[in-house]
């Protein structure tokens, strides 16, 4: 029997010990009217060989595209050692480290992760992960509401150029608690937040949410916005790409006092695209707010012999202790993805990570220059960008995407998802994984597609 080791003799002996005749007798406390006898609407089981063929065929159908699509999930090179080590059974098949003495491996690794992530963000503390970037932002918003006691009402000002899925996620996750979400507008020319910040009174807002880079890839003037928020007693929540933070100013150094809560999607740090997950959300903050943090925290301490060890700490914030008064309902997080990220950051080091960021930036500049040299294509927003940019095409972006798909290129994201006015706009991402050949192939494919599409229109 697949995955079940019992022999017939075992079963007989066990039933005998229990004192029943058949396994079915063990279900005698389930009322008869609720019992079902089988699951016969489902198929019979497959063996490993048949399943392998089937899944390989499915994987082939989904694979093979050259990826120039980012929009919150990014293709980066993942060193071989990352998942070879992360997939060791001792990491893969361990539970949450509640029995600290039997979980020192996971606990120390998480302490090292917290250290690297806090240093990368320029803040004092990191938790041990949340589900993903979008849900981490929702948790950051709830945390800000608890932490900012100066605010009169639970109002949050959110950058209008935040990833639309993040905005939708926060709405779903915080709306039931009566939190008001308002929008900080972006400039139509730059794609960045309006430099003229709105007039608000002290204590009007719990927090301001800033994305760096923003959804269009643009780099925000974070210092001004941070200082403005702090002047009005609002906290600053930064949503950042962790790879970009090897190149761009870290949130802890924004403005006079630095961002208060930093969160985002950890996937770029060694986690594959994998249809959207499992990824992991990160969340860092200042020491002052540590008791308002959601999720697990690992602390370094000593054992009864004075030897260094690690354990879950400040558990009184969590649901298994505090129940209805917990800071969040989160229990299971994304431990394995964090394991991979920790190994990834260790292998690359600070300079390797900076090289990934710089190469991604440089490659995106090359493609952008090639594309905007084509007739009819212009750069939609004129701000500096990290590794994503928006082009405006002379045709609906979707027709370009379809044309490039025929050449096995995933061209980018059609921005009509954001707003119908942006239906000629394409959000393109280039990372360090692309060679100059890849970039030229893309630019040539766009050139041919445009000729074809525009001729067809003229006909």
């Amino acid at each position: 029997m697949p995955f079940i080791p019992h022999t017939e003799d075992d079963v007989k002996a066990m039933l005998n010990t229990i004192g029943v005749n058949r396994i079915d007798d063990l279900f005698d406390e389930i009322p008869g009217h609720l019992r079902i006898r089988d699951l016969n609407a489902l198929d019979s089981g497959l063996n490993e060989m048949t399943m392998s063929r089937d899944m390989k065929e499915r994987a082939e159908r989904d694979g093979g595209l050259a990826c120039f699509l980012g929009a919150g999930a990014y293709e980066h090179h993942i060193p071989a050692a990352v998942w070879q080590i992360a997939s060791r059974g001792e990491f893969l098949t361990a539970y949450t480290p509640y029995q600290a003495e039997a979980s020192q491996g996971t606990l120390q690794l998480l302490y090292e992760y917290q250290t690297m992530m806090a240093h990368l963000m320029g803040l004092e503390v990191s938790n041990a992960s949340l589900y993903d970037g979008a849900s981490a932002l929702a948790e950051a918003v709830l945390m800000a509401v608890r932490a900012n006691t100066a605010a009169k009402e639970p109002r949050i000002l959110i950058a209008g150029n935040l990833h639309p899925h993040y905005r939708q996620t926060i709405e779903a996750l915080v709306r039931p608690q009566g939190i008001h979400l308002e929008t900080l507008p972006y400039n139509d020319k730059t794609g960045c937040l309006e430099p003229q910040l709105p007039k608000i009174e002290n204590g009007d807002m719990v927090a301001v949410v800033i994305a760096q880079p923003n959804f269009f890839g643009g780099i925000e003037e974070v210092d001004n916005i941070t200082d403005w928020a702090h002047q009005h007693q609002a906290l600053v929540i930064a949503v950042v790409n962790p790879i970009a933070m090897a190149l761009l100013k870290e949130p802890g150094a924004w403005g006079q006092r630095g961002a208060d809560i930093v969160c985002g999607e950890g996937q770029p740090l060694g986690v594959p695209l994998a249809s959207g997950g499992p990824y992991f959300g990160f969340l860092c903050t200042k020491m002052d707010y540590v008791r308002q943090m959601p999720g697990r925290l690992i602390g370094r301490t000593i054992d009864q012999d004075g030897k260094t060890g690690f354990s879950l700490t400040l558990q009184a914030r969590e649901q298994h202790i505090r129940r209805a008064k917990a800071t969040s309902n989160i229990c299971t997080n994304q431990g394995l993805a964090v394991t991979a990220a920790t190994i990834y950051m260790s292998l690359l080091g600070a300079s390797g990570l900076a090289d990934v960021a710089k190469a991604s930036h440089a490659n995106s500049k090359v493609l952008c220059t090639a594309l905007t040299a084509l007739p009819g294509i212009r750069l939609r927003f004129n701000s500096p960008y990290f590794h994503e940019f928006v082009i405006e095409c002379p045709c609906p972006a979707d027709s370009l995407i379809q044309a490039l798909l025929k050449k096995n290129i995933l061209a980018g994201l059609d921005l009509s998802v954001l707003s119908p006015e942006l239906n000629h706009c394409l959000l393109i991402c280039v990372t360090e994984t692309k060679t100059s050949d890849d970039i030229h192939t893309y630019a040539n494919a766009v050139q041919h597609a445009l000729q074809h599409i525009l001729t067809a229109v003229e006909d």
Binding site: D10, L26, H119, L142, Q319
Partner: protein, 483 residues
Amino acid sequence: MLIFEISAKGRRNHLQSPRHAPEASDIPAHLLRKNAPLFPEVSELQVVRHYTQLSRKNFSIDTQFYPLGSCTMKYNPRGVHQLASLEGFLQHHPLTPASHSQGYLQSAYELQQILSHITGLSAVSLTPMAGAQGEFAGVAMIRAYHLARGDTARTEFLVPDAAHGTNPATAVMCGFRIKEIPTDKHGDVDLDALRAAVGPHTAGIMLTNPSTLGVFERRISDIAQIIHEVGGLLYYDGANLNAILGKCRPGDMGFDVMHINLHKTFATPHGGGGPGSGPVAANERLKPFLPTPIVGYDGKHYKWLTEKECPQSIGRLSAFMGNAGIILRANIYARFLGREGLCRVSEYATLNANYLMARLQQAGFTLAFPDRRASHEFIITFKKEAKTLGVTAKDIAKRLLDYGVHAPTTYFPLLVPECFLIEPTETESKEELDNFVNILIMVLKEAQDSPELIKQAPHNLPVRRLDDLKAAKELDLTWRDSQ
């Protein structure tokens, strides 16, 4: 030794990152980072050796018997892991057009169908990323249902005192007040207390069945009737679904919505604390409120259904579509087992639990509910030993680690003092269970003969008992260069 402590300035892995990356001269200097983050500078071998050595300090299913109650630590098949890690799946971007995502979409759709059939509920959304998010989805759906009917008076959620901590925490996140319902001495919900608690303010109840006490809630149909009669709805916490696969279905018990822990019942690895996946299943009444995206099928092609097609949805719970890789794994696991294998899961999980319970009772251990059948797990209590020997459940748990088995869940549920919640799962052999019984007998004997040995345990692990008070008082959450 921390990875930072084996670091040496200037050591680099040039193989791992691009060479000759030019400076970003077009970005204004005031927006650039000035100081590099403090990361270790180590060789590839140092990284591999460091984390391999750390891994060896973990207990895991692959290396130890792991009877952690309520967590379903069953074998995580290697074939599942390998097939979900095929290159085509790993390199697939979540926003790829559906035309080039049919392999994944088909797998997700099939899992929706399988879960719908197993639970007796009509529709499934796979997007919640863990059990607690599945709970959030379900309770938020109940909230949305009442509000859609203009029923704004329903501000209370009922939660039994035996429930997981996530249940009350979730209901609070959804904006509800909690009313706790007591348990009777047989481990069932106290129906009189329930009747007294319900009313026009009742939005719903969250229940686990079999409950966290390891017994089947026999009067579940009465509970459903009491809640439905006052206009409330029932949420099923799927933590213990492993116990009833193919034997009975939450939909038939009267539940309106539930979540399923794929990382428990469907054998996806726990990864040292995640990722999990907590799909939510609903009946016709709550189906319109399911979180998006959901996978649809028109008979030819699979496609994403979003807020356009599902306007009443509670919305999106993650940036993309949940823990897709875990969803793939659950699909493969379910299709490996098929209809026969899925029924066997609950049969052998229940057989193992009842066998272990019978053996421990015969050996003189105290059962919390001796007159009840175990589900896939059961509770023993060391209340007597705590009184007579001064040895607690925690002491015994720590001593078990010395003998190379992971401890069962301790001090949960909170109702039973000095308890172990023991869940062997179906993938453990009789020999392994017998070995566990022998170890427990030995530890109990040690507790009688030399209680100090037990109170000081563990003795054979990388560290001994940790100073948790110091950890919380003198917070050391990140390593600093000065240390």
